[in-house]
């Protein structure tokens, strides 16, 4: 009889990488569903195209480096879906393909695949297209256009390597009331008009594909955290520090700076805090480090929004947080058991 020889522990938990990642994808489905309901075919096409691009790129790099397929760990799917959710619904599909390819290739494969990447791949993809296609990425279209389920936004099907057509005329035809063509953040920055919390919560605003309803994202995040597939401390730290910073600014100058609720609910902060900052591979592992990292992202987001040239700061804030993660980890190593000052018995 041959006996198995193995070292302890002989019992391990049932959790594994694919299960965790799969649940992240599942929890994103309501967000995707909501955006497709709002933006119709264009949003659907964008989601599918980018996710497929990410998966194909991942597979291609597996093959090129003679590694077993890593499609099954679901991480490329997360990158694809998240990336699509941060882009405007009118984003041309061919540019989406570029974004997806860059996200996986530069953001992940180049570092050595899942776990070794320093930056959140989806944000790398987004940062790249933001620099490459500044117009397309700030072209907004109204939600709930009448025939959104039967026709694409004209820009969606732009021929590869071509610049997208102007959508102003098309938007006019849709005759959607009160469409401004600018996001709430841009309107605050340039016109000093703040959107109501109610609109921001429910998603009745102009925004990227998946950033409209802060409430929905929050609920999905709560589900993930409750099932312990996400570290709840990070979104709490991000949102908490962002709210605190915004509150201090408002105290200082209530006429100029918006309420903390506006800061929390507008733009990509909710999606970023719940789904991007929590990317395991690019966030700290130490208990203290997690709080510092989250707080840093919150503060940076508000600072960039208020004082940077851009309307939105979440993406860069998280990328900076990612870059600092190794250092945060380094300086917040846990205190080893038995090294505390001896207590008097």
């Amino acid at each position: 009889m041959s006996m198995e020889l193995r070292t302890s522990p002989h019992q391990i938990s049932e959790r594994n990488v694919p299960t965790i990642m799969k649940h992240v994808v599942l929890s994103l489905l309501p967000v995707c569903g909501f955006s497709v309901w709002q933006y119709g075919l264009s949003a659907l096409a964008l989601l599918l195209t980018i996710t497929a691009t990410c998966l194909l790129t991942e597979r291609w790099f597996n093959r090129a480096s003679a590694q077993p397929s890593s499609i099954g760990d679901w991480s490329a799917t997360i990158t694809g879906v998240l990336l699509a959710l941060t882009l405007p619904p009118s984003f041309p599909l061919w540019m989406g393909v570029v974004a997806g390819f860059v996200a996986i290739a530069l953001g992940k494969a180049l570092f050595g695949g899942l776990g070794n990447n320093v930056f959140n791949p989806a944000l790398i993809g987004r940062a790249f297209v933001q620099a490459a296609f500044p117009v397309a990425i700030t072209t907004w279209v109204p939600a709930f256009a009448a025939n959104r389920f039967s026709e694409f936004v004209p820009t969606t099907l732009t021929a590869p390597l071509m610049m997208p057509p102007d959508v102003v005329e098309w938007v006019k035809q849709q005759s959607v009331d009160a469409f401004t063509g600018a996001t709430p953040l841009a309107r605050w920055k340039f016109e000093n008009i703040t959107a109501s919390a109610q609109d921001l919560l429910s998603g009745a605003v102009t925004a990227s594909t998946g950033e409209t309803s802060a409430l929905l994202i929050l609920l999905c995040g709560v589900y993930l955290a409750a099932r312990k597939f996400m570290d709840w401390r990070i979104p709490l730290a991000v949102l908490g520090s962002a709210a605190l910073t915004a509150w201090l600014f408002q105290l200082y100058n209530p006429a100029h700076f918006p309420a903390p609720t506006f800061v929390l609910l507008s733009g990509g902060l909710m999606l970023g805090a719940v789904y991007m900052a929590t990317d395991m591979a690019t966030s700290p592992v130490t208990p203290v480090g997690v709080w510092i990292y989250g707080a840093l992202i919150g503060v940076l987001t508000v600072m960039i929004r208020y004082f940077g040239g851009l309307t939105e700061g979440v993406m860069y804030a998280i990328l900076i947080g990612n870059a600092l993660t190794p250092f945060i980890d380094q300086y917040t190593q846990p205190r080893v058991f038995g090294t505390r000052q001896k207590r008097k018995p």
């Binding site: 990488v17 570290d231 980890d329």
Partner: protein, 446 residues
């Protein structure tokens, strides 16, 4: 951080909640028959091996000393059954090494009811005589540590022990022998605790029992007088609650300084099984010839807690419980820290607290694919020593073993397995740490 104003079960920080599989905890202890041959190693404890004092062909009585202690840090060995010495020489052991052992052919016709004993009045013994008597019983740490009991209980003159901590946590999944001992041999246990307090000079004792054993807590409570210096305390069911340092922290809130013994914070820890056997053997003047252990696991037809003579080959033991043929992996001890064995000819020794048998398909790790560390931080969140297994694992992969010890306190790791247990990437962290430690030890030697 423990919140003192928060009224909750005593516990330590971090740790895990594995599936406990404690079904055998409700089954009474049963006796196993004697195997035809018993293999009794001379060294079943930490310290110098015993010196054989019988010869081949000699007849031995159950309980008779067959090997004497070699100095203070050593223990005698007693014949586990009446029979004849068949061989003295190398036999397989659990570690895979061949070790010096005495093989006894058991008289099958003998009822094994006679037992060499010398009853004594323990109360009249002074500390020194008591220590000598404890050594004569041959008891080592029966929880698996196998440190001679009398050595552990002898406190140097410059050290004061204020609390004897009695370890009834039994946090390893599957194992329930300590549980049954607390329920069925409560009087032995309390007597043993008394002896241990006397030799160590500890004015009080606390028995820590995980709260998944309410019947054990109740049994002990009922047996203690109201003004007893012995206390029983429920602690949270969490692994590794029964490790010395976590247990001391849970019960007393004291942190044993890194690299030091519990005596540094005035504590001595002993396992319930050890003390229960002490309470039984000391007044009877007998030697340790058998022990209670748990036999369980999915490949075992009749799991339970059995009184097993020392030296019983595992093959015989597993045949008795209906497991020998289907078992593919045999673990001595618990699944978290126990070790697998390569041969069924290995005997049960004083330190064997459990024998677990798994069939081929019952091994979940078999198909587990190893991914890169995704830095989920789970391992950091569970390590009871507050280490950073993630970082240690990354360094191990780069073979930076010296860095692991110098900057990341590798030596503090006691291989509890929590980090490997939770790792979603299935990285064999503990195994890597063991290798790293071994290499560092080798380097330190040369």
């Amino acid at each position: 951080m423990r919140l003192p104003f928060f009224n909750r079960t005593a516990t330590f920080e971090h740790g895990i909640h594995p599936a406990y599989h404690k079904e055998t905890g409700s089954l009474p202890i049963r006796r196993l028959p004697f195997a035809p041959r018993l293999i009794v190693p001379l060294s079943q404890h930490i310290g110098k091996p015993a010196v054989c004092c019988v010869s081949v062909g000699q007849e031995v009585l159950r309980g008779q000393v067959i090997a004497t202690a070699d100095g203070f840090v050593s223990l005698p060995v007693h014949a586990p059954a009446t029979g004849v010495v068949e061989a003295i020489g190398f036999m397989p052991s659990a570690s895979g090494k061949m070790v010096d052992s005495i093989t006894i052919r058991v008289y099958q016709a003998d009822p094994q009811s006679v037992m060499v004993s010398a009853p004594r009045d323990v109360e009249s013994l002074d500390k020194k005589a008591l220590l000598a008597a404890i050594q004569d019983t041959g008891i080592s740490g029966l929880g698996g540590a196998t440190f001679p009991a009398h050595v552990k209980l002898s406190v140097p003159p410059d050290v004061t022990i204020d609390t004897l901590v009695v370890n009834g946590a039994e946090c390893e999944p599957f194992l329930t022998c300590d549980h049954r001992i607390m329920v069925e041999r409560t009087q032995d246990l309390i007597r043993g605790i008394g002896y241990a307090m006397k030799v160590s000079g500890a004015p009080r004792a606390i028995i820590g029992v995980e709260d998944n054993k309410p019947d054990a807590i109740a049994a002990i409570q009922a047996a203690l007088p109201a003004d007893s210096t012995i206390q029983v305390k429920a602690i949270e069911t969490k692994y590794p609650q029964g490790a010395e340092e976590t247990l001391i922290y849970a019960l007393l809130g004291r942190e044993v300084p890194a690299g030091q013994r519990p005596a540094a914070v005035g504590v001595l820890v002993n396992n319930v099984m050890t003390l229960a056997y002490l309470g039984r053997l000391l007044p009877a003047g007998e030697g340790l010839v058998e022990r209670v252990l748990t036999v369980a696991g999915p490949a075992v037809e009749k799991p339970g807690n059995y009184i097993v003579p020392i030296g019983t080959p595992l093959r015989f033991l597993l045949e008795q419980v209906g497991a020998a043929s289907s078992a593919k992996e045999i673990i001595l001890g618990g699944p978290m820290m126990g070790m697998t064995i390569s041969s069924l000819d290995v005997p049960v020794t004083k330190g064997t607290s459990g024998v677990l048998a798994f069939g081929k398909s019952q091994l979940p790790q078999e198909e587990a694919r190893v991914y890169a560390c995704i830095k989920c931080g789970e391992c950091v969140n569970v390590c009871p020593k507050f280490l950073n297994p993630s970082q240690l694992g990354l360094l191990a992969a780069k073979r930076e073993y010296a860095e692991m010890a110098e900057r990341y306190n590798l030596d503090r790791c006691f291989e509890c397995g929590c980090c490997s247990y939770v790792c979603p990437s299935h990285i064999p962290l503990v195994q890597q740490f063991r290798i790293a430690k071994a290499i560092n030890r080798e380097k330190a030697k040369s």
